[in-house]
């Protein structure tokens, strides 16, 4: 485990940190060969980057708010099989902008939002559940889950995978919502031990479904003898 830092040489590209070993960086003028290898649109010279060991859902939700609030696009979202031995993902999200100040702003908004979006992630030794809700999906959710832009959108995650399946089943039976995406260890995840289902529909219906999924997920983990707790502070 790293000790406290001894000496830090300021790096202009460093923006800040957040929970989940999250780091926010900005590159004013990304090397054009790297640009090409990453498949980015050449018109975007500046990139903002948010990357974490733990968390993909909370980071994508936070990035979705950032892209609404800034003049940026989502260039890339990739999930790693990480969580430091947990059952889920780490992530890297790249914002592209014509101007570096926009890229920086997107990273700052994301880092600020992560504290909130981690609130509906509940963890315990045996696994975790994760809920996300927004009244209006934007570009990060579209990129990551093919969310319909501007529509109400919910994400339901459970680990071990069976927990996510039961949560999704519950959500779909609770209110009139539609599945947008389904991901499991074999497809759509980085072989994480999760089932991740996203839903859309009427705003009230999505919220009600997400809450029902949360309740059944918490109760299954408790039935396993666990005490799942929020990473920060529940919001939904």
């Amino acid at each position: 485990k790293g000790d406290n830092l001894i000496e830090v040489t300021p790096v202009t590209e460093f923006v800040g940190t957040a929970i989940g070993d999250t780091v926010g960086l900005v590159i004013a003028n990304l090397d054009r060969h790297l640009h090409e290898k990453m498949g980015l649109d050449p018109k975007y010279r500046s990139v903002g980057i948010v990357s974490a060991r733990t968390g993909a859902g909370p980071h994508i939700m936070a990035a979705d708010e950032a892209v609404k609030a800034t003049n940026t696009e989502i260039a890339l979202i990739e999930l790693a099989r990480d969580t430091k031995g947990g059952a889920g993902h780490g992530s890297i999200i790249v914002f592209a902008a014509e101007d570096v100040s926009d890229a920086r702003r997107a990273v700052e908004v994301t880092l600020k939002e992560i504290d909130r979006t981690f609130g509906d992630v509940y963890t315990c030794d045996a696994g975790h559940i994760e809920l996300h809700y927004t009244a209006r999906a934007s570009l990060a959710l579209e990129k990551a889950f093919k969310a319909p832009l501007g529509k109400s959108f919910g994400i339901i995650v459970g680990a071990p995978a069976a927990v996510g399946l039961l949560m999704a089943d519950t959500a779909l039976k609770t209110a009139n919502v539609e599945i947008v995406s389904y991901a499991s260890p074999d497809k759509g995840t980085a072989h994480s031990n999760e089932i991740i289902v996203s839903i859309t529909g009427d705003s009230g219906a999505v919220r009600q479904s997400v809450i029902a999924a949360r309740e059944v997920g918490l109760n299954i983990l408790r039935s396993m003898g666990q005490n799942p707790v929020s990473v920060t502070k529940p919001n939904i």
Copy 2:
């Protein structure tokens, strides 16, 4: 680490737990949209689900006994890259049945068998080895490894991967057996640090090969300065 549970609201879908953070669930009437997304045959309304953070071999072996003993089919087996920081897999296994009581029974049998099938999993800090043997392979082993139905079948696993390779080589040279499947970090696993080889042949030959693989695997781990121990109680 989760504390002891504070309060549990009974969930009708909860069947039970087993070692490896294993949970058993049942859904009497799986939502038909989820059904579709998972690619399940519509005639099976009910599903039984067994899911774990640690273990795939032991769970598939246990499910193989369950499918023999019940009126169910194996709808899906997926492996996650998990083991809570270990070198292997977690898993999700879905039984499909026309009747929910059959699905529940399959989950119950699986949970009960897992204690036995974990007996020939030996773990230590540097890695693990895993042996499985059945005189008669059934539908779970066919689904997961293309095992020939009704034939004698053995599974040999070693981590780090080199250990599995030497174990497999030893097994194949010990008796007159044939390779059924070969999986390594790049193909056939969820990028786990294992080589997994399955074999078939005459019942005595398969058993003898599995035992020889176990001995060389244990001795290599011991040569690494480790003391591999059975998760429960050895059977083979």
Copy 3:
């Protein structure tokens, strides 16, 4: 965690160990069915195997020296998503030789070199960075990264992934070097939480770029409040 060993039956195939839970093995006459399943050239009867829970870069660099020093070829390099809960890889490297003494020699050289090649791996709780440099790339680096044979070659790794991206950007802007390969959680890695960029060019330029990448990587990890330390002893 494994206790000290109780009893070891000598196994002729065991060559030795190294840090990272690395084990070195040799098989004088690999079973021909396994041979086939692994896709190896039938002319090579003997294989040397190096496999680890932690590390891929250090092992490939060490194997590159071994293949220069012995009459062997690199038959196979595969990366597992491992590191015992860390953000990176484990690995398996197979040397092929006509003669078992050559295979054994390659494993011995690799095990000896790993201590050195781990020197430029710096780890901390939040992630790690990794630097590698050689004046003359050989067959292991060609196999793993498509390195141009005989040319100066550098590898830059950072985790969480954003750190690797900034390190690569810095390297490319520092001196006149070219990207050879780019790998990220979605492609080219086993879904590890890393960005891995390899470079070639003039020997001095590659070295200078790798050093610049190291400095910015260490400073970002320190800005995250961490104290990254070398696994053994820095060399570059």
